[in-house]
């Protein structure tokens, strides 16, 4: 992994930070900005859970738990956002912790099936619990993030630009946490578990505990993403958290590339932008998704991030050659 002179990251961050300002008059673009951020968190969380080799088809269900928790806390109990937000993550994490121990003992395709059915159960429970969630007719008039005063500084998040920056910061913090997990010994252990559980056990790795740990952590961030979603759209519908939305997150993860952390960012970014920017072709958007998916499956097995790497390598090689000839 080359860490030395990688200018692309600081550069992209600067660009990203500039976007809300550049587009401050275009509510639609700012809306997309927020959606991308939410999807990035979701994809990175799913990837974290998948890093031990457990592919979940229930990602949006946990986001849904977070979304509704946050919405209910703010709407019905007048909690401020900065309390509801972390509690949303906690709610998802608790739900995950409850089912984690039995679930992680199951491997492979059976685990995926489990998450599929769990996702449906969660969606149905949300639909059924009409008193709290408004059921299938949805929950309306969810408060937005509101204002925030701290020693004289008054930030009003009703205005989209500061709101975008807030979302960006929350996303960056989440990503930082997940990235650190990936980068450290924990990430190595998780990858080792995915490669060969038996060998991992024999060197003392408590496989079950790590699987539970990462499942809960991933679900926590999915809950956070759900909260952002709830207060952004201000309307919730249980069907937004069903099977197909979860499958979409899976596709973001695969298309971006599961191996590297940045894959989740790229996948979520590209695949959120495509349908939103081609509104006229909204009907045909699943075709584009399927096409990109097939492209990755058959040509770019490691995902789009692999393409980026290849381009980077080619640029670096070109630079080397030029230096040699100089």
């Amino acid at each position: 992994m080359k860490a030395s002179r990688n200018w692309s990251w600081p550069f992209s961050i600067i660009i990203l930070l500039a976007i809300p300002l550049l587009f401050r008059d275009n509510n639609y673009y700012l809306h997309i900005f927020v959606l991308v951020a939410i999807n990035i968190i979701l994809t990175a969380s799913l990837r974290a859970i998948a890093s031990v080799g457990q592919i979940s088809m229930g990602a949006m269900a946990f986001a849904g738990i977070g979304a509704y928790t946050s919405a209910i806390l703010m709407k019905k109990m007048a909690f401020p956002f900065f309390v509801a937000f972390p509690l949303a993550g906690v709610a998802s994490m608790i739900a995950a912790a409850v089912i984690a121990y039995p679930f992680v003992r199951v491997t492979g395709i059976y685990f995926t099936m489990l998450t599929l059915f769990l996702g449906e159960v969660i969606r149905l429970i949300i639909t059924e619990w009409t008193s709290m969630t408004g059921g299938s007719s949805g929950m309306l008039k969810i408060p937005s993030i509101g204002s925030f005063s701290l020693s004289g500084i008054n930030v009003d998040f009703i205005h989209l630009v500061p709101y975008c920056y807030l979302v960006f910061i929350l996303m960056a913090l989440s990503l930082l946490f997940l990235y650190r997990i990936d980068r450290t010994q924990i990430g190595t252990t998780l990858e080792a578990i995915e490669k060969d559980e038996k060998v991992a056990e024999s060197v003392g790795i408590n496989v079950i505990r790590f699987k539970v740990l990462i499942f809960c952590i991933g679900s926590f961030f999915m809950g956070l993403a759900g909260s952002l979603y709830a207060h952004h759209l201000r309307v919730l519908n249980p069907n937004s958290f069903g099977l197909f939305p979860s499958i979409y997150i899976m596709i973001y993860m695969v298309v971006g590339g599961r191996k590297r952390f940045s894959g989740s960012i790229i996948g979520a970014l590209v695949l959120t932008l495509i349908p939103e920017l081609s509104r006229t072709l909204k009907e045909y958007q699943p075709y584009v998704f399927a096409a990109v998916l097939f492209l990755v499956l058959f040509l770019l097995r490691q995902g789009l991030v692999d393409l980026v790497e290849r381009i980077e390598t080619r640029i670096a090689k070109g630079r080397e050659r030029r230096i040699e000839h100089a």
Partner: protein, 285 residues
């Protein structure tokens, strides 16, 4: 009251056999090609729409329509296997994702081509048989009959024919089967074809009971997976048992509780089975 229960049971049996047909196709493809063919539900949906268009719009008799639909989608299945799944044979993750891609393509095509408004295939055989106040619909009886016949037929094909034996061999060990001279490519295509044909038939039959929507496949695949989890992968009898049990539950529970609670309970049972006995009731492997 009892009459209502009997009718519910009967109705449940009919949908149960349809679930069996869905599950058989799915399990077949899963056992022999190691693919969880997620798009199986979409084939089911397409099967229903094909019958709708050639029977309701085209005026062909229903049974011929089912046959044509099964054939057409069987051929589509063979094509899909050759083009999509053969290059990635043996790798489970890409295969599921490819199947998901297919699902997107088929469902979107259906929405665009057929529109989202519900369509309806009239009953194959109209009318009811009235036994002492209990009304048993003829079309449901036909469905049960067809379900039985097709399941038996499949069972016999697997047990008694060379192709069936080849399929069994591949499901146990593809490499050993290849070494024995079995043409894994052809058998895989054939399996996919049969699986899709069964899905198409199931879809057409269900289409005559309920409405057709482009999204009907999603429920079908969920039910299909639930059946094979319940009954056990690799077991024809298990698929039958699982399908009928689920069908009966779907028929009877709504009498006593609302459908959402029933669905939640059903899924929880499936989850428990996956946790405790992933092999299902009768599964081996």
């Amino acid at each position: 009251m009892l009459g209502g229960l009997v009718q519910a049971i009967f109705s449940g049996l009919a949908s149960g056999w349809i679930y069996v047909l869905i599950a058989l196709g799915l399990a077949l493809v899963f056992s022999i090609m190691r693919i969880l063919m997620f798009a199986h539900g979409e084939i089911y949906m397409l099967g229903a729409y094909v019958v709708y268009y050639i029977c309701v719009k085209g005026g062909i008799s229903f049974l011929w329509g089912i046959l044509i639909s099964a054939l057409a989608l069987g051929i589509l299945g063979i094509f899909i296997e050759k083009v999509l799944f053969r290059p990635i044979r043996g790798q489970m993750e890409p295969a599921i994702l490819a199947a998901i891609g297919l699902t997107l393509v088929f469902q979107t095509t259906a929405v665009i081509a057929f529109g989202s408004y519900n369509k309806f295939i009239p009953a194959i055989v109209p009318g009811v048989l009235n036994i002492g106040g209990v009304r048993l619909a003829w079309d449901r009886m036909l469905i049960v009959f067809l379900g039985l016949v097709l399941t038996l037929g499949l069972f016999l094909v697997i047990r008694k024919t060379k192709i069936g034996q080849a399929m069994l061999a591949i499901s146990q060990d593809p490499n050993a089967a290849a070494l024995q001279g079995i043409n894994v490519n052809d058998i895989s295509s054939f399996t996919m074809g049969i699986g899709c044909a069964l899905a198409a038939i199931a879809g057409a039959l269900m289409g005559s009971l309920l409405n057709l929507t482009p999204q009907m496949g999603t429920l079908a695949i969920t039910k299909g997976i639930a059946v094979i989890v319940l009954g056990g992968i690799g077991s024809v009898t298990g698929a039958v048992l699982g399908g009928l049990i689920l069908g009966l539950v779907d028929g009877i529970v709504p009498l006593y509780a609302d459908s959402t609670t029933a669905a939640i309970a059903g899924f929880c049972v499936i989850i428990l089975i996956l946790l405790i006995r992933p092999k299902g009731l009768l599964g081996h492997d």
